[in-house]
Point group: C2
Chain length 143, copies 2
Amino acid sequence: MFSKACKYAINAMIYVATLPEGQERAGLKEISKAVNSPEAFTGKILQELVKHDLLHSVKGPNGGFHIQGDTSKIVLSEIVEAIDGDMLFTGCALGLEKCSEDHPCPVHHKFQAIREHLTGMLMTTSLKDVADRVNIGISFLKY
Amino acid sequence: MFSKACKYAINAMIYVATLPEGQERAGLKEISKAVNSPEAFTGKILQELVKHDLLHSVKGPNGGFHIQGDTSKIVLSEIVEAIDGDMLFTGCALGLEKCSEDHPCPVHHKFQAIREHLTGMLMTTSLKDVADRVNIGISFLKY
DNA sequence: ATATTAAAAGATAAAAATATCCTCTATTTT
DNA sequence: AAAATAGAGGATATTTTTATCTTTTAATAT
Ligand code: FES
Ligand code: FES
């Protein structure tokens, strides 16, 4: 469904979102440990998220990553799109060059509903929504 | 969502299912042309489908592939599982070692519904359902 | 100012997925 | 029986994804 890179990205963003407001930033090492992802690879992914303005980074001592602004303003679909692109949202499930009503693949009509369900969920679920669940201890970022 | 191999597999199975009952089998060349997939790679995938008893093959002149029995008895989820395995149906969306209620990832509760929607659709959509759509010309296997 | 810290950037490496090619085997036709 | 056909199986190649390592750059602390 999502690439590994995308899963790491989502988990990392959630972890950063769980940090108390205005707290010191989290370093790469801390983040990759918290979400059980390979450190160097995670670094690349965080760079990408920074480029997409979903995350901010600070170099040097006590540097690290943080989210500026409200975590309720960032939704999961933004993270997915930043890392995996929009094929999940717009591509044909069976690999036709483009997904369209005019020239639909054999599962288009059935898939449409699922896609809408999925994208609707990703577009309405904020980082705050999911980070809160982690903070109160009812969901987990690793194992 | 699905691997390329799985998309080729689904399209190929649908194509074979569109052939009139009891007709001569379709050869690899014919199939891969019909669904616009790379021939040799498609051959490997069809082998796998044969191993999973979703497809039958005959060697030699006028050989090829066909489905024995009723195409309404084969559902899409069987093809997906044969090629991509069951991670789509049972794996955690965010990469936790296992998906469970006891130790859920932050999107588990939201994902559960989508997964059920998706697997429900794949388990109830038969090859005949989709092949019929192709035969009456309202959906397409390539481009 | 200098040393230290930590992310950015670039170069490689390893693994997995996709794709092709060649030989072997079974079947059919002549 | 021999030749031709077409899938099976194995080996190899390419591409993409995942992962690591090294160097550079920016910020901080001494
Ligand atoms: S055309 Fe295949 S999903 Fe829309
Ligand atoms: S635990 Fe992640 S989807 Fe169920």
